[in-house]
């Protein structure tokens, strides 16, 4: 794979530096007290992967319970309370411990400074602090699970969460509060980094689109998360001191909780999807060997998604008791927010058209993404339309929709990005053969699990129910088997990725022929990222043929 561009550094010819960020300093303290964004990224990767595993185990338990209509698992009865805990913990762990922190904390932390030619993020110590806040929040969340696992659903709706349940709501909301600050610090850091630490000559429209996507994500993190913080404080106050804001028996309004909660949580789902979209914007031009079509359109669409995400939250509350006028307004605005996503998909497809496409594992995930995101995004429109939402809300249709966007899109992109930047982060190539099989299994398993759920939902299967009418069993069983295929694919990926770590560090600087700045340094990079100051010599994603040697 000949790199198509040149730069001040000689790629491939340059001898591999003996010391890199992984081996330059050793010992527990050198990692625990590191301020190197690359090491922090690795620690975040390990942490969020453990959270993903934990959340996945709860998902498997949910699907196992639903294998039969009588909520038994291996012959044991699963009580309603236990089932409530299963899906609550699955949701809370996945949302707060995995999806929101994972891409920003791991991939972005590692790659973003390299992409803009910086030595580190703007505030390295705050970066480390945000990681430790994640750890503390994770410990608190796990503790709350052990002491008396929450059963309110990850949405903590009142009045059940304030006055109905005796589970450890207070501890879990405190954990989420801490995790929120981790998210805020990460976002704050990236905004300052992008504004101030770009390499000389790199204007806003010379940056990789990944940076645009992560900047947009960071804006949401900074502006939306504090409202989650105050919502959780109010929830705790209501639960402990009965202040009378959310519980109607003491003068409050439960719909107010939903307004407070969704004002954060809707932008939060864009915190989840924008990083995935950002990764795809890197994979598509590289593996199509073609300049990105519509660079500015994609950049602007990232920012518009971030801003528009703040004005649609009421679409989670169409049947909650919101006023009719507010409902209609939110529905109309929800149609608006679909437009930037469409803009991106069309620009990616146009980039691929007549490109020189190669189907390595990252590209297989990117292509899966295009199909799964299309389905996820379009089904969101069904839910944004009032007349259909009245029937589909709180059914499995919603569950399928958000899994298509959160898992079928974000996690797919995450796995693709992990493979793409694996040689840069670890200095090793993974086994391409195994990776392609795992990618195919992932696509099959994901669709097997969640496509039937659209059908289940439209036929009336409610969400968060532990039993169901017999006629739904074939689809539920199919879905459960699909979940095992997903598990197998992920297990395979973990296995060959970890196995690659035992190979010698022999990955080239630029295995994929990428044009962004991170490929100008060694794999893995030295601690200070670049031996010589990187110089921006071409437009972003410039794959035009040019004379090679300098």
């Amino acid at each position: 794979m000949e790199p198509a561009v040149t730069s001040g550094a000689r790629i491939g010819d340059r001898p591999r530096p003996k010391k890199n960020y992984l081996n330059e300093t050793k010992g527990f303290k050198s990692w625990a007290l590191t301020v190197d964004h690359k090491r922090i990224g690795i620690m975040y990767l390990v942490g969020t992967m453990i959270a993903f595993l934990l959340g996945g185990i709860f998902a498997l338990l949910v699907r196992l319970t639903l294998l039969t209509p009588q909520h038994t698992m291996f012959g044991i009865q699963v009580t309603a309370e236990t089932y409530n805990r299963f899906f609550t913990l699955h949701g809370a762990i996945m949302v707060f411990l995995f999806i929101i922190p994972s891409i920003p904390g791991s991939v972005t932390n590692f790659v973003l400074p390299l992409m803009i030619g910086a030595k580190d993020v703007a505030f390295p110590r705050i970066n480390l602090a945000s990681f430790y806040l994640w750890v503390v929040g994770a410990i608190m969340a796990v503790a709350s699970m052990v002491i008396g696992a929450v059963d309110t659903g990850w949405t903590f709706y009142t009045p059940y969460s304030t006055s109905g349940t005796s589970s450890t709501v207070t501890l879990m909301t405190a954990a989420v509060f801490v995790l929120g600050f981790s998210s805020i610090f990460t976002g704050l850091n990236f905004i300052a980094t992008v504004h101030k630490l770009r390499a000389p000559g790199m204007g806003w429209f010379d940056m990789p689109l990944f940076v645009w996507g992560m900047y947009s994500t960071a804006v949401i993190q900074v502006l939306a998360t504090p409202v989650l913080g105050i919502t959780l404080v109010l929830l705790m106050m209501e639960r402990v001191f009965r202040i009378g804001i959310f519980d109607s028996r003491i003068g409050g309004d439960p719909v107010l909780f939903q307004h407070f909660f969704w004002f954060y949580s809707h932008p939060a789902v864009y915190i989840m999807i924008l990083p995935g979209l950002a990764i795809i914007s890197e994979l598509i031009p590289t593996f199509s060997r073609k300049t990105m079509f519509g660079y500015r359109a994609i950049a602007y669409s990232s920012v518009s998604l971030a801003l528009l995400s703040f004005i649609v939250w009421g679409h989670h509350m169409f049947v909650a008791g919101q006023s009719q006028l507010a409902t209609v307004v939110f529905s109309a605005l929800t149609f608006l927010v679909a437009i930037p996503s469409g803009v991106k998909v069309f620009n990616w497809l146009t980039t691929m058209y007549k490109g020189n496409i190669s189907l390595e594992a990252p590209m297989l995930y990117a292509i899966s993404f295009l199909m799964l995101f299309a389905i996820g995004g379009l089904t969101g429109i069904f839910l944004g339309t009032l007349s259909t939402d009245v029937h589909l809300t709180d059914t499995y249709f919603v569950v399928a929709h958000f899994h298509y966007v959160m898992m079928g899109s974000t996690v797919t992109a995450f796995i693709g990005g992990l493979h793409y930047w694996w040689p840069k982060m670890t200095g090793r190539m993974y086994s391409e053969k195994w990776a392609r099989w795992a990618a195919v299994l992932w696509f099959i398993g994901f669709n097997a699990t969640f496509l039937p759920q659209f059908i289940l939902g439209s036929r009336g299967m409610p969400r968060r129910y532990y039993n169901y009418l017999d006629q739904f069993q074939p689809l539920h069983a199919f879905s459960t088997v699909g979940s095992w295929i997903i598990g197998l694919s992920l297990f395979m990926s973990a296995a060959y990725l970890l196995a690659s770590l035992r190979k010698p560090m022999d990955a080239p600087d630029n295995p994929w022929g990428g044009t962004t700045m991170e490929w100008q340094t060694s794999s893995p990079p030295i601690t200070h990222n670049f031996e010589e100051a990187p110089v921006l010599e071409h437009e972003p994603y410039d794959y035009r043929p040019k004379a090679v040697a300098h």
Partner: protein, 240 residues
């Protein structure tokens, strides 16, 4: 990335870095870039404070819409009898105290910027004293509420009368009163801690025209604390 790179991003201070400022962090090309970035970081944090407190303001506003009569009546409890008139004495006093403390703070930043070590310390100490006055006045206010059993949530002591009137509005008002002034008070306390830390560093001569970033950043924090009170004061003490 060498600091003497050919393309200097910032046109100021183009006469190269001959002395090395001990506070210069190496991922920044120049001290100016570092200072500007630190300020941006602080402004981003302050935006989160606006949204954090803002959530409480929104909740207060919505509850006030729900219980307009009760909230207006409850406001009277925040006024004191001054020369025979009902006047928000403690509230107004605290507003003036905080405004003056904002002035002493920015004068302190100015003194640090202009290499006036004694003045810096003096203004910072004055700011701390004014902040303490604020907290004392707040304590006196709270004492009166405790005496009248006007307390938040489960500690509210007038449930029986409220039941006769058939409303929770009064209890909700006081819950919000304590939450908002309480959270604000916690921020004042944290501010006092930060200011104390600055005083220690200032006395050691750590600040000068070359490096006064911590003073500037704590100053920004302090001004936001003042700004939040600027909005809190009319909504709680002046509506009638």
């Amino acid at each position: 990335m060498s600091t003497s790179s050919t393309s200097d991003v910032h046109a100021h201070g183009g006469h190269g870095e001959h002395e090395h400022n001990p506070h210069h962090q190496h991922h920044f090309a120049t001290m100016e870039q570092q200072f500007d970035t630190s300020k941006l970081g602080m402004w981003l944090f302050l935006a989160t404070e606006i949204l954090l407190f803002g959530g409480l303001f929104v909740g207060f506003g919505l509850m006030q819409h729900r219980y307009p009569r009760e909230f207006v009546e409850a406001h009277e409890h925040l006024k004191q009898l001054v020369f025979g008139q009902h006047f928000p004495l403690y509230g107004a006093l605290n507003t003036i105290v905080l405004l003056v403390s904002s002035w002493t703070m920015v004068m302190g930043v100015n003194a640090a910027q202009t290499n006036q070590k004694q003045k810096t310390v003096r203004y910072l100490v004055l700011t701390i004293l004014l902040a303490c006055v604020f907290l004392v006045v707040k304590y006196v206010e709270y004492e009166h509420k405790f005496a009248d059993h006007l307390l938040p949530g489960i500690f509210y002591g007038h449930q029986a009368e409220d039941l006769i009137k058939g409303t929770h509005g009064y209890a909700t008002f006081f819950s919000f009163y304590f939450m908002m002034t309480g959270l604000h008070g916690i921020h004042v306390l944290v501010g006092i801690g930060l200011l104390g830390w600055l005083v220690m560093r200032a006395r050691r001569g750590e600040f000068s025209s070359d490096y006064y970033t911590p003073v500037d950043l704590v100053g920004l924090y302090w001004h936001i604390v003042d700004m939040i009170w600027i909005y809190l004061f009319p909504l709680y003490y002046l509506i009638s």
